[in-house]
């Protein structure tokens, strides 16, 4: 299945859905993500596999963030039919880029 490159912003306190749950029998596979604080208010970012926190970063300053490129053959496979969620500690804008694909679970 083809990879999708996604770029947008999130700014809600709590859960922000970056990639919606793909449906029964499918899973999201992440190859790369970058999240960057675009606001000047310190913000903690938690990247979640559905409801499970997986990566966390406390971005103290504008421009701080979280980035990970998964090596070929070892992408981040989310739980079947789970959404990719960015949880923010406050309603502060964060930009993000995600490269992912949806595969059969």
């Amino acid at each position: 299945m083809a990879r999708t490159r996604l770029t947008a912003t999130a700014a809600s306190s709590g859960d922000n859905t970056l990639v919606a749950a793909p449906g029964a029998g499918k899973r999201i596979v992440v190859h790369y993500f970058l999240i960057e604080l675009e606001a000047s208010t310190a913000t903690a970012m938690i990247l979640k596999d559905g409801s499970t926190a997986v990566f966390r970063r406390y971005a103290a300053n504008e421009g701080d963030g979280l980035v990970r490129e998964f090596p070929g053959g070892a992408p981040w496979e989310l739980t079947a039919n789970a959404a990719l969620i960015l949880n923010l500690s406050g309603a502060n804008t964060c930009g993000y880029n995600v490269e992912y694909e949806v595969v059969a679970a």
């Binding site: 926190a53 949880n87 406050g90």
Partner: protein
């Protein structure tokens, strides 16, 4: 926060024993942190005290016999100091000047006693308030000031 403090916070948010309504705040972590950090107003445990009552120059001179007051008015330097002490509510300066005029014989014992009585008058402490800030819920739990990120962390399961 350390692990024990996070565990305390987790239990507090889950049980809400004080009924602060964390559940209704949902994922507004800043609002939850604010609820924990707010110091509620509680009745002031201290009784309202009294403070020396502020005096005016006219009040002080009204307590002194007219002839004696006139004698003070005829000494501009002394009058200026008396005025400054009264207007600045400088009690130690007033006491010193009172001693000075008493020693110089400018005022009689009767006038001196009247001014001393005036200086001893008090009024309720205007800075006293019926309520004062009490302890925050966080402080009652032995927690430092709670950050939105602390709330976020305990409301989201841990990962790697």
């Amino acid at each position: 926060m350390n692990a024990a403090q996070l565990a305390t916070l987790r239990a507090e948010l889950a049980e809400d024993p004080a009924g602060l309504g964390y559940g209704a705040l949902g994922q507004d972590y800043e609002a939850v942190a604010a609820a924990l950090n707010t110091r509620p107003q509680v009745p002031n445990p201290e009784k309202q005290g009294v403070v020396p009552r502020g005096l005016s120059l006219l009040e002080v001179f009204a307590a002194v016999r007219p002839g004696e007051a006139l004698a003070i008015y005829e000494r501009p330097a002394l009058l200026a100091d008396v005025k400054a002490a009264i207007e600045g509510d400088d009690r130690s300066a007033m006491a010193a000047l009172l001693g000075l005029v008493a020693a110089s014989g400018l005022v009689s014992a009767g006038s001196l006693a009247a001014v001393q009585a005036l200086l001893a008058t008090t009024m309720p402490d205007p800075s006293w308030t019926v309520t004062v800030p009490g302890s925050s819920r966080a402080a009652l739990l032995g927690l430092p000031a709670v950050l939105a990120a602390d709330v976020q962390l305990v409301l989201n399961s841990g990962g790697n």
